[in-house]
């Protein structure tokens, strides 16, 4: 490892998703010097991967990218992507100390122009995690077209060290000698915005995720519907056929005690309804059926959005799917009890979307090494004083933004990030006054 770099900031924001970005902008706007750390190669988190967002149906990227460019050129905000937080400790009354590892991209970030020639030249193809494995990418790659920073990275786990990228790079910015660099940060306050983790549906064997190719997750469907989508059309992955009977299975991995996640993930009903509406637009002839337990369209404009979907002809079937079986032609048979009639039924669909729930991200719990980090029974960080100060964690000076503390939709995430930044600024002001 290279020599340890030491830096100091007013605030550390962990997580460069929409919550972290919003918090960093708020802090920066109010004159705080902020370090925004993202473990991924790009800012934007889950939101930038989405197609459109409910209930307004505006494009997710179009909301995210202006925020990203705002934070990226903010004079008070420093951004470290591809950087991992190893530990955060309270140093004394007013300061925290964090240890970070900046992973190498094997590309000189400041020189890369994002021309993608390295990508063309690279011979190694691996599943593209940013397209949720629907298509492949190269080992030398730019995550996606609106990534920020839009620079190339060499994926060393898959690189064959052929040197092809090095030869074609016009600014000669590929550098295989880069090494992880450790970095020590001193700061006064921390905002944790590590976000949520999607439930892995392969854990529920009877839904055949990972076995049947035409069983996909809602996040994969987001990619199929997004403007920067892989096939430029909604096709089922099994055989590239345009689906015409699509099923949504709700509550996959949420409201389910058997997988240890008894709570409702809050967003799945709505994103499924949104996708159904988008599918009706993209595939006008397709039937879309949503299998649900309860539709939770509780937010501003949500109920109206649900009614709109019904009006567009989306089928809503009350009953949770119990079992999915794959037929030889790749179609899927869903077994469920139709609660309205009280009868067991089977239905055949040619594409099944699992509306997976969200879980607490295990990352956040690992940062704080002094033992004062508390969690609730669902492994979310404990909100110490929920009504009085919802952003406060169990450690004074550490605040929670967005889905770090519980599942929530984007408007609530933005509000929660606003709350965390307000509390963080106030905390710094007061500790400066010695209160």
């Amino acid at each position: 490892m290279a020599a340890v770099e030491r830096l100091s900031f007013d605030a550390l924001v962990v997580g460069g998703g929409i919550a972290g970005i919003e918090a960093a902008i708020n802090l920066g706007d109010n004159g705080l010097r902020v370090l925004l750390v993202e473990k991924d190669l790009t800012l934007g988190g889950k939101m930038i991967m989405l197609s459109k967002v409910f209930p307004t149906l505006d494009c997710a990227a179009c909301i995210t990218t202006p925020k990203i460019s705002e934070v990226a050129r903010h004079p008070n905000v420093t951004i470290f992507t591809n950087t991992e937080v190893k530990s955060i400790q309270k140093q004394d009354m007013h300061y925290f100390k964090a240890s970070l590892v900046r992973h190498p991209r094997y590309v000189d970030e400041s020189a890369c122009t994002g021309c993608q020639l390295c990508e063309e030249a690279c011979p190694a193809v691996v599943p593209d995690q940013y397209q949720y494995d629907l298509v492949g990418r190269k080992a030398a790659y730019i995550p996606f077209s609106i990534a920020s920073p839009r620079v190339a990275t060499i994926d060393m786990d898959h690189c064959v060290l052929c040197g092809a990228c090095e030869r074609v790079c016009p600014p000669q910015c590929i550098d295989f000698t880069q090494e992880p660099a450790e970095c020590q940060i001193i700061m006064k306050t921390v905002i944790v915005a590590t976000g949520l983790q999607l439930f892995d549906p392969a854990r529920i064997e009877r839904f055949r995720s990972g076995h049947a190719k035409n069983v996909i997750t809602a996040m994969q469907m987001e990619r199929l519907l997004a403007p920067t989508r892989p096939y430029n059309h909604v096709l089922r992955p099994g055989d590239g056929k345009a689906p015409d009977k699509i099923a949504y299975v709700l509550c996959v991995g949420s409201r389910d005690r058997t997988v240890g996640n008894p709570i409702c993930s809050q967003i799945c009903c709505m994103y499924s309804i949104k996708q159904a509406q988008l599918l009706m637009g993209a595939l006008p002839m397709a039937d879309v059926t949503i299998y649900y337990i309860n539709i939770r369209s509780y937010g501003k404009g949500f109920e109206e959005f649900y009614e709109q979907a019904k009006g567009m002809g989306v089928n809503f079937v009350k009953g949770k799917v119990g079992q999915i079986t794959e037929k030889e032609n790749g179609n899927l048979v869903l077994r469920y009890e139709d609660i309205r009639s009280g009868r067991l039924k089977e239905a055949e669909h040619d594409l099944v979307v699992l509306s997976v729930g969200s879980l607490a991200d295990p990352d956040a719990s690992g940062f704080f090494t002094d033992g004062r980090w508390e969690q609730d029974e669902f492994h979310f960080p404990r909100q110490k004083d929920l009504f009085f100060n919802p952003a406060l964690s169990s450690i004074k000076g550490v605040f929670l933004a967005g889905t770090t503390s519980c599942p929530m939709d984007i408007p609530d995430t933005i509000l929660s990030a606003g709350a965390a930044s307000m509390e963080a600024i106030r905390y710094i002001k007061q500790s400066a006054l010695g209160i």
Binding site: D29, P262, K300, A419, M422, R426
Partner: protein, 644 residues
């Protein structure tokens, strides 16, 4: 002086250059008058390209420029900041959208796309030729915020702002703080009661020197704009100067002969004309309700702190921002809606919550013991016929919690929930589980087949076609029917009218953008927080109040504010003051001005949003919108019309 225009045409890595012959575009641009240089770039937004543009400006090769690339929604600010970094006014740069509206839209027609790109670039050049440097409008700001409503959201916002060193005027229409939360008792989620929570907030409010709290205070007038509002607040007196010795106030209340319904308990009890909601509602000083007081003078004899000489007054305050946390009203069912006001054991959820709170050992309604309770959900929400189409969000959870609490407090209760599908989202799902596990029964019907409430032989029967039991008709003989009433906007909407806050389809105050600007309104400087934005629970209200506070703070933290200078301008010579523009302006930004001797319209630039609604209505064509002047628009039209 001759313009030195730089034109930069982006390949966008093939996104543009695959369909548009960028070289052809460059050549066409280079021929235009005033163009000093025209270049193509692989990625105009890349750091290296930005540096190149900045260098051209700094070296004096370029004094205004056009970037032809993707949609300005993505990168307008990027290139504006390039201009600023290089020391050029950002309005001397014009953007041409040749990706979304050219290369992508016409990827089937390369010739057509190239020709269109040429036209767009030429039009942009025509516009930038006329571009002038415009300085942002600076306005002086007051370092003070008016917070309307001293419920939990208002108090949280007030204390947060005050702790940042901002002067806060916190006004509350009622004589006691705490709003709805003080009435709730059981808050669910945590063990804390509404009363305890309000106490904590109140202590924070009174401990802070920067907060001035007015109770019995109502906003009556507002003028000015962001950074500099002048508001008038009418304050109704309490007619009680201070806290009397405890017992003496109790006696003063006892001797009052007037009894009126107690709104604090949602009319299930009575109070006196001199009253205090419960022994510890803040401020601790009692109030005389002058609307009902008969001036009999009995209370005065008991307590010397009572003072009928107090008078209503109006104070004027100057603030830089206004934060509205006006709260909500519970929906009032119509007469006969599920038997409301027809059968005497049909009550609303707020009434039930107060009933549970004030009952001690046994749950009784109108003297009769209550054992079986039927809760009917979605009353006033998700209406099929009425205008409330929205879900009120908080009711499922709050009803379940109230039922659990009632079950813990009183033994032997049976609970039947007549729902339309339970919506205990997030972690609140555990409360639904808890209630079910304890044997509370949940039934569900369709939207168009609501439960029926009838009476037979003195018994109240609630019937439902329960879809969880294959639509079988299920009947419950209930001692008490609780209508789970949703949230509606405050029936007293004067604040919204005074501040001109727009409302959404649900009639709650509307934000500018749900995701980008969720607590700001189109009235600059006015933010909204809590349930006046739409139904939400306490945690969500606090989150929004903190978000609103940080926004309000950003309006007042500096002495001056810079705002976008794209505003309407009036040609005083041409204007004849016909009032048409003032009428067309949705923001009241235009007023009559006779200071120069001639009656003309004057634009209050800090208020003007630059929408241009006043432009077409002027009969004298005396109004121009900056960057959209007749000359600019007509030049562009001319260029576009004459294809090369």
């Amino acid at each position: 002086m001759k313009r030195k225009i730089g034109v930069y045409i982006c390949h966008c890595g093939g996104n543009i250059s695959d369909y548009v012959d960028v070289e052809k575009v460059r050549q066409a641009a280079a021929k235009e008058a005033g163009v000093a240089l025209a270049r193509t770039m692989e990625f105009a937004c890349a750091d290296s390209s930005q540096k190149e543009i900045a260098q051209d400006i700094q070296e004096g090769a370029v004094d205004s420029f056009v970037v032809a690339s993707c949609s300005p929604k993505l990168h307008l600010p990027t290139f504006q900041s390039v201009a600023e970094r290089a020391g050029l006014n950002k309005y001397q740069y014009v953007h041409a959208n040749i990706r979304e509206q050219v290369s992508w839209a016409h990827s089937d027609d390369k010739e057509g796309a190239t020709a269109k790109a040429v036209q767009f670039v030429r039009a942009a050049i025509a516009k930038v030729r006329l571009a002038k440097a415009i300085e942002p409008i600076e306005i002086q700001t007051q370092r003070a915020v008016l917070v309307v409503g001293a419920g939990v959201a208002g108090m949280k916002a007030a204390t947060s702002l005050a702790k940042m060193g901002v002067n806060v005027y916190l006004i509350e229409k009622e004589h006691f703080v705490g709003g709805r939360v003080s009435q709730w008792d059981v808050l669910c989620i945590t063990e804390e009661t509404g009363k305890d929570l309000v106490t904590r907030f109140y202590i924070d409010v009174v401990a802070n020197q920067n907060i001035t709290l007015f109770t019995g205070a109502e906003l009556v007038e507002c003028s000015g704009s962001m950074g500099n509002f002048t508001v008038k607040v009418r304050i109704t007196p309490r007619y009680v100067k201070d806290i009397c010795e405890k017992d003496r106030m109790r006696r003063a209340i006892e001797v009052c002969p007037v009894e009126v319904v107690d709104e604090f308990n949602f009319s299930i009890t009575k109070r006196k004309a001199i009253y205090h909601n419960f022994p510890s509602q803040y401020p601790l000083v009692a109030v005389v309700d002058m609307k009902h007081c008969t001036r009999c003078g009995k209370c005065e004899k008991e307590c010397e702190k009572i003072d009928f000489s107090q008078e209503e007054k109006v104070v004027e305050l100057k603030v830089g921002s206004i934060l509205v946390a006006a709260g909500f009203d519970p929906y009032t069912p119509k007469n006969g809606e599920f038997g409301y006001q027809v059968y005497d054991n049909v009550i609303t959820l707020p009434q039930f919550k107060r009933l549970v709170a004030i009952s001690d050992t046994e749950l009784k309604w109108k003297g009769r013991p209550v054992q079986t309770i039927a809760y009917i959900y979605c009353v006033g929400s998700r209406q099929l016929e009425g205008e409330n189409k929205y879900c009120s969000r908080y009711c499922c959870l709050t009803t379940i919690c109230a039922a659990i609490k009632a079950g813990e407090k009183f033994s032997g209760l049976s609970h039947f929930h007549f729902t339309r599908g339970i919506r205990t989202y997030g972690k609140y799902e555990t409360f639904f589980y808890e209630a079910s596990k304890r044997g509370q029964v949940f039934l569900q019907s369709f939207e168009d087949d609501p439960p029926q409430v009838t009476q037979k032989d003195g018994r109240t029967l609630v019937r439902i076609h329960d879809i969880l039991t294959s639509r079988r008709e299920v009947e419950v003989d209930a001692d008490l029917v609780v209508l789970v009433t949703g949230m509606v906007p405050r029936t007293d909407g004067r604040i919204g009218e005074i501040l001109k806050l727009p409302r959404g389809r649900d009639r709650f105050y509307n934000e500018i953008h749900m995701k980008l600007r969720p607590v700001e309104t189109v009235i600059d400087g006015v933010t909204i927080a809590g349930a006046c934005r739409g139904p939400q629970n306490v945690v969500e209200a606090i989150n929004s109040s903190l978000s609103a506070a940080i926004k309000s703070y950003s309006f007042v933290r500096r002495d001056t504010l810079a705002i976008e200078p794209i505003v309407a301008e009036i040609d005083p010579d041409a204007c004849t003051w016909c009032e048409a523009c003032a009428k067309a302006c949705p923001f009241d930004a235009i007023a009559r001005d006779a200071s120069t001797g001639k009656e003309i319209a004057r634009v209050n630039t800090p208020v003007c949003k630059g929408c241009g609604m006043c432009l077409p209505v002027c009969p004298a064509n005396a109004i121009q919108l900056r960057t959209f002047s007749d000359e600019e628009v007509q030049q562009m039209i001319g260029v576009l019309a004459h294809e090369l």
